[in-house]
Symmetry: C2
Subunit: 141 residues, 2 copies
Amino acid sequence: MTDFVLHPQLAADTAMVCDWPLSRVLLMNDMRFPWLILVPRRDGIAEIIDLEAADRNLLAGEIARASAILKRWTTSHNGCDKLNVGMIGNIVRQMHVHIIARRTTDAAWPFPVWGRGHPVRYPASERERAAAELASLCADQ
Amino acid sequence: MTDFVLHPQLAADTAMVCDWPLSRVLLMNDMRFPWLILVPRRDGIAEIIDLEAADRNLLAGEIARASAILKRWTTSHNGCDKLNVGMIGNIVRQMHVHIIARRTTDAAWPFPVWGRGHPVRYPASERERAAAELASLCADQ
């Protein structure tokens, strides 16, 4: 764990939410979609098969936890019709999991969000508020 | 488990490989990418948060197992530079997990495969051979 360093591209594209037992929880800086990223705090992991079985189970639980938090968070915004989960990593190899709350009216529906259009950055104050709201839900749940 | 019925769209797009403790393992009928689909054999599941914790752990293990099988299978074809895993379900709501072996020279790289180009179907004999090879790897591993 001590060797964990967040990839600079992930750091540039996100805001910190909190740390869970396995993963760092990040908010993707793209207002188009309510979008969390989990990064297992393990050194040198690119694929799910690089994780030990115990960490794999932790990750499955944290994906479910992040999914539940996004559903709860979006009830006070525009709601959520579907959750999308992806582990891609074709460009940034440090293992990271996308969890995205989708709406049938969103900018990419029904396609996955990756590689569709361009991110719309949060104004700094809104980004901080969103990250704080999510951190508060993470503490609850 | 007795109520499990595979969604007709998934049935139309895939070939049967085998059944694992939780999931049905299917080969996506698209020669562009070595591509497995896992469908948890549970009724009425759309999201990872709909699964019990024990099933979530089973699923995480089966995703890793499918990943290892695709890596092994592709060593005798063109190799594999990255694995992509996705749970999307925006169109077909029955929960299913995509596991795709990617190459830096493939038709969609570096983008995710979903919604890029059009499937290239296997000739029937090649589809059957590929499904049989994968079933044999599933029995080993």
